[in-house]
Symmetry: C2
């Protein structure tokens, strides 16, 4: 009756818009969560999302080490055939967090064990280091932080006093922007995700969208389905 | 750009499904909140909804004493012509709360100062005392806890091990149920609100809905608009 059709939740960080759903899912009997020790600590002590949720529902927790693949299980603990690996990415902790433990923001590499087929998911990333680019190059499907088009976008529009980079999001455009770097990766599918509603790539007829498509990337949308 | 078209939020308790929206509204520049000291304390220390929200947005807070009318202000602090009064109602605190300070669950009486016209809003109520019934009788419009039809409903359907009364909701039907008590009140409009999705009054052709209508009450729905 209050079943939630989700086998588990892997968190990349403890930002409210990425983790508050755990509270909203509390009516489900159990929602297994995977996250790093740093993310767990912020959910436990800073936003208190875990203790508040536990008052209503069992929350089985699997800790993700950094840089090591961990099996993803179905909710009944049977094997799923997938693993997930967390990679620390350059970023700051959530604004409400009282500390910034290592691993508070990660990208994920999800791999099908049998075939080796791989999806990288990096919804928030403050900088693309050569090491990180090398890891993302392994992916058949790359879903990457497309929050802002330009560094100055949030300031120019008056939604923030911080630039995109100051908010730990590499902008898409320009020198050192994500587009020129992702365009060189061999991944079969490269998709911008986590796109803010101020980003002109959301407009299908915009020159910014055309630039993304010309570089061989796409802009993700709800319901996007990719076969690898 | 991130304006929230809400002048203020009056909380009746700190239950997650009644207060988590404050976090979701954090993108709004400021969302004035009115609540009792007890509700504030639970939001501050137990669910940490207030400190987490304050990291993003100003949260002007007005404390509501029990049994005293307080002016409701527009977001710009100008007069609205309305007052709100909080009445403690029989109930337990939220499951995640570490204490049960007095006033953790209230009903509200909203009054237009010029005309005296009054709306009572009591979405969660574990018992209708004679004193509470007398206060509700003042209302032109009464919105009352219609969570469950019968006391055994949540147990019989397997959604809880606690009955309606044990969950602090007077059931609608039966001896001591809310229907027989509200049917005797002189309020011009009496409306069941906070109706759970297991409650048969939601079915327009059900005998339970017919019993509610026969007693002179209605079942509220989204977008309900009442002129007094």
């Amino acid at each position: 009756m209050r079943h939630v059709p989700i086998e588990g939740v892997v968190l990349t960080d403890a930002e409210l818009d990425h983790s508050l759903g755990v509270v909203l899912l509390r009516e489900g009997k159990r929602v297994p969560i995977y996250a790093t020790a740093a993310v767990r600590s912020i959910l436990e002590y800073d936003s208190r999302i875990l203790p508040v949720t536990r008052a209503f529902a069992d929350v089985p927790f699997t800790e993700l080490p950094l840089d090591a693949a961990v099996p993803l299980l179905h909710a009944d603990r049977s094997a799923s055939g997938l693993t997930v690996e967390a990679l620390a990415v350059p970023a700051g902790p959530p604004q409400f967090a009282l500390a910034a433990p290592e691993g508070h923001t990660v990208g994920l590499i999800v791999r099908e064990t049998d075939t080796g087929r791989t999806c990288a998911f990096v919804p928030g990333c403050g900088g693309l280091t050569p090491q990180l680019r090398d890891r993302l190059a392994e992916a058949d499907v790359l879903l990457f932080d497309g929050t802002f088009w330009s560094d100055n976008e949030p300031v120019a529009l008056g939604i923030s006093t911080r630039t995109a980079r100051q908010m730990d999001h590499v902008p898409i455009e320009g020198n050192g922007g994500s587009l020129e770097q992702l365009a060189r990766l061999p991944c079969r599918h490269r998709v911008y995700t986590h796109v803010n509603n101020t980003n002109p790539v959301l407009l299908e007829s915009s020159p910014e969208r055309a630039a993304v498509v010309r570089a061989g990337l796409i802009v993700g949308d709800d319901g996007l389905y990719i076969t690898v």
